[in-house]
Structure formats: C-alpha cells, structure tokens
C-alpha cells in the first residue's frame, strides 16, 4: 500500500466491522422482538381459555 498500509487497512476493517455489526445487531433485534411477540401471543391465548 505504498507506505500507507497502517491507515488503509484499519479503515477498511473498521468499515467492514460496521457492516457486520449492523447485520448482527439487526438479527438480534428481530430475534428479541420475535421472542417478545411469541410470549405476548401465548399469554393472550392463555387468557382467552
């Protein structure tokens, strides 16, 4: 990298890290929402019975 390697590679890694974080965070967010929704549905169902 013509001497600039210590600037270029950390930048690229950080950017890729942010992409990965976004995927991970979104998946986690959805998983937790799904869990809470399932619980809410189960509770509503048990109340109906």
């Amino acid at each position: 990298m013509g001497g600039y390697a210590r600037f270029v590679w950390p930048s690229i890694s950080l950017a890729i890290g942010v992409l990965i974080w976004n995927i991970w965070s979104a998946r986690r967010h959805h998983a937790r929402a799904l869990l809470r929704a399932t619980r809410a549905v189960a509770m509503a169902r048990s109340e109906e019975q």
């Binding site: 600039y4 270029v8 690229i12 950080l14 950017a15 974080w21």
Partner: protein, 244 residues
C-alpha cells in the same frame, strides 16, 4: 392504484414484504461491495498525489453518504408518520436511527484515518467534519429521546419531531464544502456535470456506493420487521406471523 399505497402503510404487509426483500438486497449488496472492494483496493491505479491512501475513499465516501441518507430516511419516515398518522413510519424511523449512527461513526473514523496522511492531522474543525460530528450527536439525541418516554407511542412521536427538526443539518453537511473554504475536498461524484475522477477509480466507488445502499436496504428491512413486531405485539396478524 391507491391500494398499493394503502398496503405500504399496513404493518403485516410491510412485515412480509421486508422479509421477501432482505435476501435479494443482501445478494446485490454482496456482489457490488465484493467487486468494489477488490477493484478499488487492488486494481484501481494509485493516485498521483495521495498514493494508496486514497483507497480509503472506497469505504469512507459510502459510509458518509449513508449517514446522510439514513438520517433523511428517518426524518421523512417520521414526518410521514406525524402528518398522516401512518404508524409504520415510526417503525422505519426507529429502525433507521442506529444504522445511520453507526455509519456516521464509520465515516468520522475512516475520515480521520485518511486525514492523517492527507492533511497531517487526525481531526480538523472544518465545516464538513464538524457538521458530520453534529449529525452523530443528533442521532444520539433522537435515539435517547425515543427511549426516555415510558409510553412508546409518545416516544415515537417526540423522536419523529426531533428527527424532522434536525434534518436541517443534512444539507449543511452536504453543501459545506461548496459554501465554505473547507479542508475537505469538494464534491467529485455528487455534483452536476461529469465527475472528476477517471473511470478506473470511479467504477469501484460507484459500486461501493450502490452496494452500501442495498446493504442499508437489507438491514433496514430486518430492523423494521423487529420494530413492527414490537409495536404490533397485540394485533391478531402477529399470531399468524410468529407461528411461521
């Protein structure tokens, strides 16, 4: 024709459509980003003045662009929700905020790492950098405000209003390099007229920009699904949705 519009405002429709779109967005993003990174980091010619340091542009410019695009998405979605009382708008606004904040941070840090070899400093209080930093603070403000309310509906509305108020900063960030004497270089791509970059450098950059946009679409879809679920937990359609 209006049924298309009404469906767009319907939470179950948004939930299903987002699920269908996500893998496609990821696929396109992967191809574009993969090509962009390889071509930009390996095959694009070295810059005459900056040497290989300019290659940071391939992650810095897309991140910065996305930080603005995400905020605008958040503000527009919030405005639509406030004005026309379309609840899904709040879900989109809530979903866009953390994504946008992460890209703002990425833009600031990659920019800082690029600034060191290019300008000799990790930071400068110049208009573009400063307004981008303000953008980060605005994101934090919106996210914090939403979470501060015990009633989530009220939090959604307050955060949407704040998002709209803060959107005035977005054109400031974008036009700061034309309005003021800035250390930061002027627009090379997002301007009227032909871009100033040679094709071999430009194509990977355009690919990265487009790739990041599709990536944003994919992640936004995923987050919107979670946000919709959180808001619609008590609805009947959710029962069917969680079974699958």
């Amino acid at each position: 024709m209006w049924t298309w519009f009404y469906r767009l405002a319907s939470p179950p429709h948004v939930y299903r459509t987002a699920a269908a779109l996500t893998p496609w967005f990821y696929a396109v993003a992967a191809v574009l980003i993969g090509y962009g990174l390889v071509d930009g980091l390996v095959f694009a010619p070295r810059d005459y003045q900056q040497g290989d340091a300019f290659r940071i542009i391939y992650v810095h410019a897309p991140s910065a662009w996305l930080s603005l695009f995400a905020y605008t998405t958040m503000a527009v979605a919030g405005a639509i929700a406030l004005i026309w009382r379309i609840k899904v708008g709040y879900a989109v606004a809530a979903a866009a905020a953390p994504i946008g904040a992460s890209f703002t941070l990425s833009a600031l840090v990659t920019g800082s790492l690029w600034g060191r070899p290019m300008w000799g400093t990790y930071w400068a209080w110049d208009p573009r950098l400063t307004s981008e930093l303000i953008l980060l603070f605005l994101y934090f403000g919106v996210i914090s405000l939403r979470q501060a309310f015990e009633d989530p509906a009220r939090g959604d509305r307050a955060a949407a209003l704040l998002g709209v108020v803060g959107v005035v900063n977005v054109p400031i960030v974008h036009f700061s390099v034309t309005w003021w004497n800035s250390l930061h270089q002027g627009g090379t791509v997002m301007r009227l007229g032909k871009p100033e970059m040679p094709g071999s450098m430009l194509w990977p950059l355009l690919a990265m920009l487009a790739g990041f946009m599709f990536f944003f679409g994919a992640v936004l879809c995923m987050r919107v699904r979670g946000e919709v679920l959180n808001r619609e937990r008590q609805s009947t359609w959710v029962r069917e949705a969680v079974k699958s």
